[in-house]
C-alpha cells in the first residue's frame, strides 16, 4: 500500500535579502516526502493561495498543492489539525521551525499534541517504512546520527542535515494546480499583539589580524576558535597517546 504522506510548507525568508523564498527545512520536508511517496505525496500550506513561493515548492515536481486558505492573523494549528484528522495519514513532515512569522518551532509539537501522535524531531533521514514502522535517523551535533524506530503515524521535523531540496523547475511550478480549501480559523491573538522589529546584529569582537600574506589572512579568517576540550600530548608515552585517541573515539561513539 502506498504511504500517505503530507509535507507541510511555509513561506521562507532569505537571511540576506529578507525576501520570500522556499524555506530550507520545508523544502527538505518535500524532498523527503517525494523520496518516500513519489507522486502520491500531498503538500499542504496554510495561508494565501496566491503566494508565489508556493510555485517554487511545486516546481520540485508536484502536480498539485493544497492550500488551507486563511489570513495571516489566524492560527495555523487548529485548521491543520482538522485537515489532518480527516485523512488517513501515515507521516507528516515539517521543518524544525519556520523562517518567518513567530518561528517558534512549536507547530509540530502542538499538532502532535492535538492529534495524539509522537514527534520525531530533527530527522536526517527516513530510511524505510515497513510493517507500520519507520526506521529514522536523527541528526545529532557533529554529524552524528541516532537510529530510531517509530510506529506510524507520526510527525517528523526535518533537520538541515536531511538531503537538500532539489532544484525547482519554473515550468512545472507554473502548471501545478493549487487546490484551495476555505477554512474558518481562530485568530491568533498572541501573534496579532506582537510587534516586529529588525533584529540588531550583535557587535562582534574585533580580531586583530597581523597576517602579511594572503595565505596567512585566509588562515586567520578561517581558523576555528581554540576550544578547551582538546588535549595536547607531547611528552607522554606512545602508549598514553594511543589510549587518549582510543578514549576519544569511544566517547564519540566512532567505535563501540
Amino acid at each position: 500500500m502506498p504511504l500517505n504522506i503530507v509535507s507541510l510548507v511555509s513561506v521562507g525568508r532569505h537571511p540576506q535579502s529578507g525576501r520570500s523564498r522556499r524555506a530550507e527545512q520545508d523544502g527538505r520536508a518535500v524532498e523527503m516526502g517525494l523520496k518516500l511517496a513519489g507522486q502520491q505525496l500531498s503538500v499542504v500550506h496554510v495561508g494565501n493561495p496566491d503566494e508565489p513561493v508556493l510555485r517554487q515548492y511545486a516546481g520540485m515536481g508536484l502536480s498539485s498543492l493544497t492550500v488551507l486558505k486563511q489570513a495571516d492573523r489566524f492560527d495555523a494549528v487548529p485548521v491543520l489539525q482538522r485537515y489532518l484528522e480527516q485523512k488517513n495519514i501515515d507521516i507528516v513532515l515539517t521543518g524544525v521551525r519556520s523562517e518567518s512569522g513567530e518561528s517558534s518551532g512549536m507547530v509540530p509539537y502542538l499538532l502532535a499534541h492535538a492529534l495524539g501522535w509522537p514527534v520525531v524531531a530533527r530527522v536526517a533521514d527516513i530510511v524505510c517504512v515497513e510493517k507500520g514502522e519507520a526506521q529514522v535517523l536523527l541528526a545529532l551535533p557533529r554529524g552524528q546520527r541516532r537510529a530510531v524506530r517509530v510506529a506510524l503515524p507520526f510527525i517528523a521535523s526535518l533537520d538541515l542535515a536531511a538531503p537538500p531540496a532539489r532544484q525547482s523547475a519554473f515550468g512545472v511550478g507554473l502548471r501545478a494546480k493549487i487546490e484551495t480549501i476555505e477554512s474558518i480559523g481562530e485568530v491568533d491573538q498572541i501573534r496579532v499583539d506582537w510587534q516586529e522589529a529588525e533584529a540588531k546584529p550583535r557587535a562582534k569582537r574585533l580580531k586583530t589580524v597581523k597576517a602579511k600574506t594572503a595565505a596567512e589572512r585566509f588562515k586567520a579568517a578561517t581558523a576555528k576558535p581554540q576550544g578547551d576540550a582538546g588535549k595536547v600530548l607531547i611528552n607522554e608515552t606512545t602508549q598514553q597517546k594511543a589510549q587518549a585517541i582510543f578514549d576519544l573515539l569511544l566517547e564519540e561513539k566512532v567505535i563501540r
Binding site: S17, M60, R166, G171
Partner: protein, 648 residues
C-alpha cells in the same frame, strides 16, 4: 552515344526524384514551430546573401573559397546548360561550347577539392564526404564527353555500346550524388538546405554586415519551456541545422572541444539533424564529442526523432552545459548556423522543465531569485565598495549624462579594483555620472545563459522599471556581459521604450567602458604618461568582441599610451574564450584541460609580460591560472596607472 534518349531520361528521372526528396525534406522542417519570415524578400535576397555574406566568411580560407566558387559556380552553370542541351535538345554549338567551358571550370575546382581530401584535416568529416569530389569529377567528365559531339568536336553518334554503358553509369553515379543526394540527405544537402537557410534565416539582420547576437526571449507559460524535442525548434532553425557542410570550422575554434569537454559543435548540429530526420548517429564520420571525464559514447548509440526528448538519448546534457556561449563557432560557420541559440534553447528545457542545472547552477539561480545577485549577498551591501568613492546616486541626482552600471562586480574584491580605476578616470575627465546604488540588480546574463529565462525576464523588467524613473543619455559599464544584455537583449522586453528615449530624447547609448574612455581620450579629456616598455598583449572578451563588434576601442586606448600590442595568434573575431562565459564556471563540466589555461598559454606564446583585458570575468578566469604567468590587468587599471592628474 548509341541511344540518344537515354541521358535525358536518366537526367529527368533523377531530377524528379530530387524534387520528391525536396518536398519530403521540407516536411521535416515544417515539423518545427511556426516563425514568421518574409519568404519573398528572403528568396530575393538569396543571391546577395550567398555571394556577399556567405562568401565573406568562406573567403577567410582562400584555398577553399576559390575551389568552391569554381566547383559550385561551374556546377550550377553546367546543370542549367545540361538541361537545355541534353534534355530540351537545344542544338546550338555555342551553348554546347559554353557547357564544355563550365564543366572544365568545375573539373578544375573539383580537382582542388579532391586534393585537399588526400590528407584531410581532422576537423573535416570523412565517410560520404570523401566520395563527393569523385562524384563531382565524374559529373564533369561524363557530361564533357557527352557534350563533345554537340559542340561539333566529335561527329554525332560517336561511340559504341561500351561507351554508352560507361557514360550512363557516369550519369547515374554523378547525378545520384548531385541531384538525388541533394534532397535525400547526401553531402550535397548543404547546397539545397543551405540556400533556403540563407533565404529564411532567423536573424536576417546578420546579412549586409549587420550583427544580431541577443538571445530571443523564451515564451513563458506554455506546456513546455525551451526546446525538449527537435519539433520544439522553430522550423527555420531545423532548416539551419540541415545546412551544415560538416567543414568542422566550428569544431576547430570551440574552446570546450579543445579543452576535452564533451562538446563538439559540429557533432551537435549533426545530432540535431539526426533528431529532425529520425534515426541514429551511426553514419556520422567526424570527430566525436571528447570523452570529458565520463566515457565516450559509441557511434550509433545516440537515437533521436522529431518528437523524442533530445536529452533522453540523443545528446547528453553535459554536452549542452560545456558551452561557454563564446560564439566562436557561429562567427566561423560558413553556413551561418546559430549554435548558441540552439544550445541555450535546449538548456532552457533542462533548467525550466527538468530542474537539472548541474553543479552550482541550482544554487546560483536560487540566489539570483532571492537576492538579485548570483552569490546570495545582501542586496543592501551592493554599494559598499563605493563607500569611499563619493559617487552620487541616481536617486538623488534624477538626471545625469552617464549612468554607470556597476554590475555584480560590486561584490567581488578583485572586480572592485577595476570599478575604482574606472571611477577615477571618469572623475579626472569630470564626467557627469551617477550610479543606481542598491537599486541596481544583476543584469540577468547568468540566469539567461543557464536557461532560466523566467528569471532573466523578471530581472530585466525590474531593472527597466528602475531605469525608467531617471533621465540619462548613456549607460556605461565595465562588464561586457551586462553591456550585451542592456544593449542587445533588454530591447525585447522594453515595452515602454525606456532605452529608446534618453534624457536628450534620443535613444540611450549603451557603452562599454573602453569605448567610452576612448571617446574621452579622443576629446582630450584625459592625459596619460607613456607606458614603459612592457611587452603586452590584449585579450578580446567574447561579449565585447564577437557579441558587440568592439575590437578597436581597447586597442586604441592601449596605443594612446604608446603601447605596441603583440597580438595573439587568436585575436579579434577569432579570440579564444577565457572559459568564463555562459555560466560555464558554474556548471563546471570536467574536461582534460581548463580553457583558461589554454588562453594563458596563448598569452605566454606572445612573450607578453602583461595581458590587458576588458572584462572582470576574463580577469578572474585568467588570474585563476597558476603562477608564474603574465600579469592580468583591466584596461581601466592600466590607464589609471598612467593618468596625469591636474593639480589645482
Amino acid at each position: 552515344m548509341a541511344i540518344d534518349w537515354l541521358p535525358s531520361v536518366l537526367i529527368v528521372t533523377l531530377l524528379i526524384l530530387a524534387v520528391i526528396g525536396g518536398v519530403r525534406r521540407a516536411n521535416l522542417w515544417r515539423a518545427g514551430q511556426p516563425e514568421k519570415v518574409d519568404i519573398v524578400a528572403g528568396l530575393l535576397a538569396l543571391p546577395k546573401r550567398y555571394l556577399q555574406d556567405l562568401h565573406h566568411v568562406v573567403a577567410r580560407d582562400k584555398y577553399m573559397s576559390q575551389s568552391h566558387v569554381a566547383t559550385a559556380g561551374g556546377f550550377v552553370l553546367s546543370m542549367i546548360l545540361v538541361l537545355l542541351v541534353h534534355v530540351f535538345g537545344v542544338s546550338n554549338r555555342l551553348l554546347a561550347g559554353a557547357l564544355l567551358v563550365a564543366l572544365g571550370l568545375m573539373f578544375v575546382g573539383a580537382l582542388f577539392i579532391a586534393k585537399r581530401r588526400l590528407q584531410p584535416p581532422s576537423r573535416l568529416s570523412k565517410g560520404p564526404w570523401m566520395r563527393l569530389p569523385k562524384s563531382l569529377l565524374t559529373f564533369a567528365v561524363t557530361f564533357f564527353v557527352l557534350t563533345l559531339p554537340m559542340a561539333g568536336v566529335l561527329p554525332e553518334g560517336t561511340g559504341n555500346w561500351l561507351l554508352t554503358m560507361i557514360l550512363s553509369a557516369g550519369i547515374i553515379i554523378s547525378l545520384s550524388e548531385l541531384l538525388f543526394g541533394m534532397t535525400w540527405g547526401g553531402p550535397m544537402k548543404h547546397a539545397f538546405a543551405g540556400a533556403l537557410h540563407l533565404a529564411f534565416h532567423r536573424r536576417p539582420e546578420r546579412f549586409g554586415g549587420g550583427r544580431s547576437t541577443g538571445l530571443k526571449p523564451a515564451a513563458l507559460g506554455g506546456e513546455v519551456h525551451g526546446v525538449a524535442k527537435p519539433s520544439d525548434f522553430k522550423w527555420n532553425q531545423l532548416l539551419g541545422f540541415d545546412a551544415c557542410v560538416q567543414c568542422g570550422k566550428c569544431e576547430a575554434m570551440c574552446p570546450a572541444f579543445a579543452a576535452g569537454q564533451p562538446l563538439n559543435p559540429k557533432k551537435l548540429i549533426q545530432d540535431m539533424v539526426v533528431g529532425l530526420a529520425g534515426g541514429t548517429d551511426a553514419n556520422y564520420a567526424g570527430s566525436p564529442y571528447p570523452a570529458g571525464k565520463g566515457e565516450a559514447r559509441a557511434l550509433g548509440s545516440a537515437k533521436g526523432g522529431a518528437d523524442n526528448v533530445i536529452t533522453a538519448g540523443l545528446v547528453d546534457a553535459d554536452t549542452l552545459w560545456s558551452c561557454t556561449t563564446c560564439r566562436a563557432c557561429v562567427e566561423e560557420c560558413p553556413m551561418m548556423i546559430e549554435h548558441v541559440d540552439a544550445i541555450v534553447d535546449m538548456r532552457r528545457f533542462v533548467t525550466m522543465e527538468k530542474g537539472q542545472t548541474p553543479n552550482k547552477g541550482a544554487q546560483v539561480l536560487e540566489n539570483i531569485i532571492a537576492t538579485d545577485n548570483p552569490n546570495g549577498y545582501a542586496p543592501g551591501s551592493r554599494t559598499h565598495w563605493a563607500a569611499d568613492q563619493n559617487l552620487p546616486l541616481m536617486k538623488d541626482k534624477q538626471q545625469v549624462d552617464v549612468l554607470f552600471w556597476v554590475s555584480d562586480g560590486a561584490f567581488d574584491m578583485r572586480s572592485q579594483r577595476i570599478l575604482r580605476a574606472f571611477v577615477t578616470l571618469m572623475k579626472a575627465a569630470k564626467v557627469d555620472v551617477a550610479i543606481l546604488g542598491d537599486e541596481e540588480r544583476d543584469c540577468g546574463d547568468v540566469a539567461r545563459r543557464l536557461g532560466d529565462d523566467a528569471s532573466f525576464q523578471s530581472l530585466a523588467k525590474r531593472n527597466l522599471a528602475t531605469l525608467s524613473q531617471y533621465k540619462f543619455n548613456k549607460i556605461v559599464t565595465t562588464d561586457p556581459h551586462a553591456y550585451h544584455c542592456l544593449r542587445n537583449e533588454y530591447s525585447d522586453l522594453d515595452v515602454n521604450g525606456v532605452l529608446s528615449q534618453g534624457a536628450s530624447g534620443q535613444a540611450v547609448e549603451v557603452l562599454h567602458h573602453t569605448t567610452f574612455l576612448n571617446h574621452l581620450v579622443e576629446q582630450g579629456l584625459l592625459n596619460f604618461e607613456r607606458f614603459s616598455d612592457t611587452r603586452m598583449t590584449y585579450h578580446d572578451p567574447c561579449y565585447l568582441g564577437r557579441y558587440n563588434g568592439e575590437y578597436e576601442a581597447p586597442r586604441e586606448l592601449l596605443r594612446s599610451l604608446g603601447i605596441n600590442i603583440t597580438e595573439m595568434a587568436r585575436s579579434g573575431y577569432r579570440s579564444r574564450c577565457c572559459g568564463g562565459g555562459g555560466g560555464a564556471p558554474i556548471t563546471d563540466i570536467p574536461g582534460e584541460r581548463r580553457i583558461a589555461d589554454m588562453r594563458m598559454a596563448d598569452v605566454t606564446e606572445t612573450g607578453a609580460e602583461l595581458v590587458a583585458v576588458g572584462c572582470q570575468q576574463c580577469t578572474a578566469m585568467l588570474e585563476g591560472v597558476v603562477e608564474p604567468r603574465p600579469v592580468v590587468k583591466d584596461i581601466a587599471e592600466i590607464l589609471v596607472g598612467q593618468l596625469i592628474e591636474e593639480v589645482h
